[in-house]
């Protein structure tokens, strides 16, 4: 990556002071949380005008509950996207995960089931990583192909819901402390771990570096391939967690648990809403959680107003585009050009 130009050609962007660009309202991470808060407020007003109650306990519970599954996936997704990759196979991995979980629990113990699911996820993540780094297949295609493979396997081996989750494990899906579903703590835990990994460990630093500038990272001695592989495994493990949660919630494995909820594209949307650059190298888990929350608050509002489900999609689409458009602004063209340059590198590399 060449040096930042000495005299910026097109950009009239004011010079940033050292350390600026963090902790600013223009910072997507802050932005998305503010947005989520704002939407909640607006929703409250609108719903109240509409004659409903928004700030009810059950409603909060619902919002949190609905954030868990997508949250887990999106957190994982942000790991890969940060590293400059992408995972489109998450949806089918979830489905398979729920099935494996439920069936193993039916036969054996919960522990073995959890281990089995995590093992499966790790394996799939590893495969994705190896295809992307080893075969040099663009992540988009690689994980899409993986999705096909998983899909075939599922359709070929499962006939509707399968397995049976013991009540003990279903508590994960149904219990709550006060109005907070305990599954939320699972999400928080996973998110915290991912946050620590990305922000505080060498692997994390290398993920940002690899996503930010693969070439520079390699020159600096970062094992970029390994980093990408780790990122994919991390993502898959989060997906595994999501699968376990869904299994506990559904009480059985469902071959369509992941696909019908569109976790593949929704998770990417949430990540981007959270201000993580699709090209990689910038953003983080914190923002992603904000994005997820924003989406499920929206859903809840639509629910309250019983908006036509088709109309929801329209709004979602608009929100996603609008948000990213806002993020794109402060960076201005120069950053855009740089990101594109990177995206290009990625395109060429993968």
């Amino acid at each position: 990556m060449t040096a930042v130009r000495t005299e910026a050609p097109v950009s009239a962007a004011p010079r940033r002071l050292p350390g600026a660009g963090r902790l600013k309202v223009t910072d997507p991470v802050v932005g998305v949380w503010l947005a989520a808060a704002a939407v909640t407020l607006i929703g409250w007003i609108v719903v109240t005008i509409d004659g409903g109650q928004f700030m009810t306990q059950s409603n909060f519970t619902g919002i949190l509950q609905n954030s868990v599954a997508l949250g887990l996936v999106a957190v994982g997704q942000s790991a890969v996207i940060l590293t400059g990759s992408l995972d489109l196979s998450v949806a089918y991995l979830i489905s398979l995960g729920t099935l494996v979980a439920a069936e193993t629990m039916e036969g054996g113990s919960v522990v073995t089931a959890v281990l089995a699911v995590l093992a499966l996820s790790a394996a799939v993540g590893l495969a994705n990583g190896l295809i992307v780094t080893g075969l040099k297949v663009n992540a988009f295609i690689a994980t899409l192909g993986m999705a096909f493979i998983l899909r075939g396997y599922i359709e070929d081996n499962y006939t509707g819901p399968a397995g049976d989750v013991p009540a003990s494990f279903q508590r994960l899906g149904y219990d709550r402390i006060g109005f907070i579903p305990i599954s939320v703590f699972l999400l928080i835990a996973v998110a915290a771990v991912l946050w620590l990994i990305t922000k505080r460990t060498r692997l994390g630093h290398h993920m940002y570096a690899t996503g930010g500038d693969e070439h520079a990272a390699r020159l600096s001695g970062v094992r970029t391939r390994r980093t990408v592989i780790y990122a994919h495994v991390l993502c898959a493990l989060c997906v595994g967690a999501a699968a376990l949660f869904l299994a506990s919630r559904l009480g059985a494995g469902a071959p369509w648990a992941g696909t019908e909820a569109r976790y593949d594209l929704d998770s990417i949307a949430a990540v981007v809403l959270g201000g993580t650059a699709l090209a990689g190298g910038r953003g983080g888990v914190a923002g992603t959680l904000g994005g997820v929350l924003l989406l499920s608050v929206l859903d809840s509002i639509f629910n309250q107003l019983s908006v036509d489900p088709f109309f929801k999609n329209v709004v979602r689409g608009v929100v996603i585009i609008a948000a990213v458009a806002l993020y794109a602004r402060p960076f201005r063209r120069r950053a855009k050009a740089r990101d594109e340059a990177r995206a290009k590198e990625k395109g060429a590399l993968a």
Binding site: D156, Y158, G160, L246, W256, T259, D264
Partner: protein, 415 residues
């Protein structure tokens, strides 16, 4: 079948059926899905759920008792008002009647609030159904409020929806489950709080006051198959088009047909999955014609793609052989225009009216059958005109029982 939302590729939404199941079928599901033996065998043997005509394959989905009972019911005469199939019931005795006095609203049902957790409106069948249900509600002034939450086909969301609704002050809760197994816990939870009415697809609990559904998959599959058996000579070549592999309720339809074909010695040359995608179906049939020269009959496990199949024959310049479909308007239209030799078993959308009726009965304290099994009409040459309605949109369903309802035909898109 039309209840299918089948994505052909990732990124698209659902890939399966929010499908029907008679209570007994639900039992069959228990037997098939949660029974370990066949499933584990399956996992090791990818060929298993292929359309191999081997016995043990069928045994996985096939349940003789249900099969017999369903064929039984097709012959039974329904109890209930003539010409109002949505209020009729078949052999209610079997499940026994339920005394609902405990749910009776004091001061009558005036101002009742009904709540409905819908799996989704992701296909024409469900859209027609929901319209019909809303029209039914509109008929009853005593229903003050009717809340619908749409799960958009997400089990997870429907569970939350059910929890949310049972939290609100609903007098009765209607549930059209997205999935049989996965919604059981949520429904059980709701049962504790308010009277619950389950319809279309079942759940693995009998805590609901009543479960409403038509006869079921075996009857559907058999009706179509028997028709071909009558129309096609022994040894004739049959193409079977199915929506997607390994979907329980579709398997019952197919396994019923399989028996019939084998008994009659028909030669099933192709069994293919269409993903419910017309263009794929058309391609498959064209290929079949190209390869087998003549096709003597086409069996469908659902209606969505039958017109495409018909056209495949037209485009190939072949005569259209006996073909089965569903009561979807576009097929009925083709049937009429092209004067097909055809039959169309219906999985009637009028069943969406029944839950509302049942709910009011319950809230009035009138007794309802534990298993409310509705008739499952079959469209034939004879009764064609009952189901074919001029000017209805192509994706409308003939057996909607909505002709008398307010707003017909406009609200259903007809003119």
């Amino acid at each position: 079948m039309s209840r299918t939302r089948r994505t052909t590729r990732p990124g698209a939404r659902n890939r399966r059926l929010a499908a029907p199941a008679a209570a007994l079928l639900a039992a069959a599901l228990l037997a098939s899905c949660s029974s370990d033996a066949p499933k584990d065998d399956l996992a090791d043997d990818p060929a298993a759920s292929e359309q191999a005509e081997d016995g043990d394959k069928r045994s996985e989905f096939f349940d003789q008792a249900d099969y017999d009972r369903q064929l039984e019911l097709t012959k039974a005469t329904p109890e209930g008002p003539e010409g109002k199939p949505w209020e009729q019931m078949l052999d209610p005795a079997s499940g026994g009647m339920v005394d609902t006095s405990e749910y009776a609203m004091e001061g009558g049902v005036e101002g009742a609030k009904l709540c409905f957790s819908n799996a989704g409106v992701f296909n024409p069948w469900r859209q027609v159904g929901l319209k019909t249900m809303k029209a039914e509600v509109a008929q009853h002034d005593e229903i003050a409020d009717f809340t619908v939450l749409d799960a958009q086909g997400k089990d997870d969301k429907q569970i939350s929806d059910i929890q949310e609704l049972s939290g609100q002050d609903c007098d009765a809760l209607i549930v059209s489950p997205n999935t049989t197994a996965t919604l059981t816990p949520a429904v059980e939870e709701a049962c504790g709080k308010i009277p619950v009415i389950v319809f279309d697809r079942g759940v693995e609990t009998d805590c609901a006051v009543t479960f409403i559904s038509p006869i079921g998959g075996y009857a559907y599959g058999a009706a179509a198959a028997d028709f071909l058996v009558d129309e096609v000579d022994k040894g004739g070549k049959i193409v079977a088009l199915r929506i997607s592999p390994g979907v329980d309720v579709l398997e019952t339809r197919w396994s019923a047909a399989e028996i019939a074909f084998e008994k009659a010695g028909l030669d099933v040359v192709e069994v293919k999955f269409t993903d419910g995608d017309p263009s794929k179906a058309k391609s498959i049939v064209s290929d079949a014609i190209a390869r087998h020269g003549r096709i003597d009959g086409v069996w469908m496990d659902s209606g969505a793609t039958s017109v495409a199949a018909v056209e495949a024959f037209e485009d190939a310049g072949e005569d259209i052989p006996p073909i089965t479909g569903e009561d979807q308007q576009d097929f009925l239209q083709a049937w009429k225009d092209k004067d097909l030799t055809a039959i169309a078993p219906a999985y009637p959308t009028f069943q969406w009216r029944t839950p509302v009726i049942a709910a009011l009965k319950i809230l009035k304290g009138e007794e309802v059958p534990k298993e409310w099994t509705l008739p499952q009409p079959v469209v034939t040459e004879e009764n064609f005109d009952e189901y074919y309605k001029e000017g209805m949109p192509p994706l409308h369903y003939g057996a909607c029982g909505c002709e008398e309802l307010p707003g017909y035909p406009g609200d259903w898109g007809g003119e």
